[in-house]
Amino acid sequence: MTVLEQRGTYRPAPPPAWQPRTDPAPLLPDAEPYRVLGTGAADRADPGLLRTLHARLVTGRRYNAQATALTRQGRLAVYPSSTGQEACEVAAALVLADRDWLFPSYRDTLAVITRGVDPVQALTLLRGDWHTGYDPYEHRVAPLSTPLATQLPHAVGLAHAARLRGDDVVALAMVGDGGTSEGDFHEALNFAAVQRAPVVFLVQNNGFAISVPLAKQTAAPSLAHKAVGYGMPGRLVDGNDAVAVHEVLSDAVRHARAGGGPVLVEAVTYRLEAHTNADDATRYRGDAEVETWRGHDPVDLLERELTRRGLLDEDARRAVREESEALAADLRARLHEDPVLDPMDLFAHVYAEPTPHLREQRELLRAELAAEAEANADAEAQAAPEGATR
């Protein structure tokens, strides 16, 4: 009962404008993150799901390693690895139906490729040949978002629009622990709750925003507790337990799809690598902490479970290994080729039709490129004078 429902000498009936006010209890996350692996519940996990998750996690780990290696070879401009977070990345993609939408942040290329986007296209931003390498409509994956938390209102608007159109579409939006501090996080969750938009917000709490640890990011009991302030359920899950993440996200997607409105899921995980290849993590954290978390590795956790239940024989291991290596080899091969770029593309998509001043600049660049090509041809001709007559 709220003040508005009280009756008394001075207090008349509550004005309808105050309705509805809800009971916070069902919105609060459990005190303890949900987990399956290592608990009795693991026995009930579907073997097929366990195998799929395992294959995707192992491949994801390999993908992360390969992408990081490619930065060292100068084939990627930068790579923010999700090593250690594969359970979240993979589950986020697997719980969605084809018609659903994924809204990744810049770290979430693994979720993007798990959803079916070609890895080279997924890495375009980080390779440096264009901003987004895939058509967002093909797999219903929004562009990787670099400005933190800004993709969250997009997910809300899209889910809201789909609902208005009567389409049965859920949007799953990913954000980091650091990103929860941004105003856009707040505004997105509030809009989603008010509009009962079918959105699942997945916060990967990996302990750090670059160098800043969670304790400097928030004083909340957990990030999932933020949900109650918007009137949506908050769920806390062990983000390194792929089965648990998959289950919690599946529930959340089902809840949203059924018209129950948005859900906030905090997956507690850990960024095992530095922020990106350009970062030096030794400046702000010790090896001991990292080692501690290595003991709670998502791939290991799942492998132990599969092994315990006898679901992982040598053949299965080999198949997964081969699949991973194939992915890595393909990535290596295709990223070692230089992309063919047309500088004129710079003007092609600023507007549907270039403005007059862009057309002028386009002609300027065209002339420059022609001059450059000519100069190059001359230089080649001079370098190989005997070929000049060919």
Binding site: H131, P143, P147, H154, G157, A161, E187, Y351, T355, P356
Partner: protein, 341 residues
Amino acid sequence: MTTATAAGAATAARPATLAQALTRALRDAMAADPAVHVLGEDVGALGGVFRVTDGLAAEFGEDRCTDTPLAEAGILGTAVGMAMYGLRPVVEMQFDAFAYPAFEQLVSHVARMRNRTRGAMPLPLTIRIPYGGGIGGVEHHSDSSEAYYMATPGLHVVTPATVADAYGLLRAAIASDDPVVFLEPKRLYWSKDAWDPEEPTPVEPVGRAVVRRPGRSATLVTYGPSLPVCLEAAEAARAEGWDLEVVDLRSLVPFDDETVCASVRRTGRAVVVHESGSFGGPGGEIAARVTERCFHHLEAPVLRVAGLDIPYPPPMLERHHLPGVDRVLDAVGRLQWEAES
């Protein structure tokens, strides 16, 4: 396309306000295309603080004309998501300065999504922003923020100055497959003009300036709230023997160099007039590009008459800030007429 209520009505031009023409444009756009959605603060039952969305929620329902929570980044950000799904959102920002919280969404997403995705994900979004002063508004209610939007590639920036343009340009903005920042001159909301709401002006293609008054002595280049000032100045200038041409830009992006330069080449002199501050404002760009293109036709440097380079003043002092007829005439007087004789 006319709406049901228009059918069979006897049509005739009668005085309408610029605000009414905007309302009519929204209504016609919503009737013509179910993908058009209006959202913002107080746009529903209230009809917006300037009543531009008056009646839309009643006619089209709250799902088509939606009161949002009070959060501009959230409004624009969700509108981006709606546009991604194929809708054509029309966002209302309540006042110029209250669009600033949405600046990151505007610059980092709205302006770049088409380019980012090589054209795969255009954003047909209209962002209506009441702008400018002269209405006695307290702090933060009278900013001229067009310089920010002009400097952001990927946005169209459009502003009507007449009742007919209010309709035509807003329809064009909503029809555009690109995001349009649609700047509505607050102090012209209640300006009236004969206009036939049953046969509204055809949709203008965005990007064409128009000569509002032909003249031979010098060109006044202007837009939005300063158009009436320039027309008045042109009338007053006749007494001084100057026959001024007045060009209404209507669109800052794209910029119609052709119309502007044709005029300046004819007259040989130009003054850019706007309410926005001078330093770093639109006039610098306009003067620079006119000079680049018409240097040898110019008898004098292109001058600028603009708002002062100060935070917008309180109501009791705003008249000293706003470029008025006298300042325009003074500038015209400084166009080195001695050189003539």
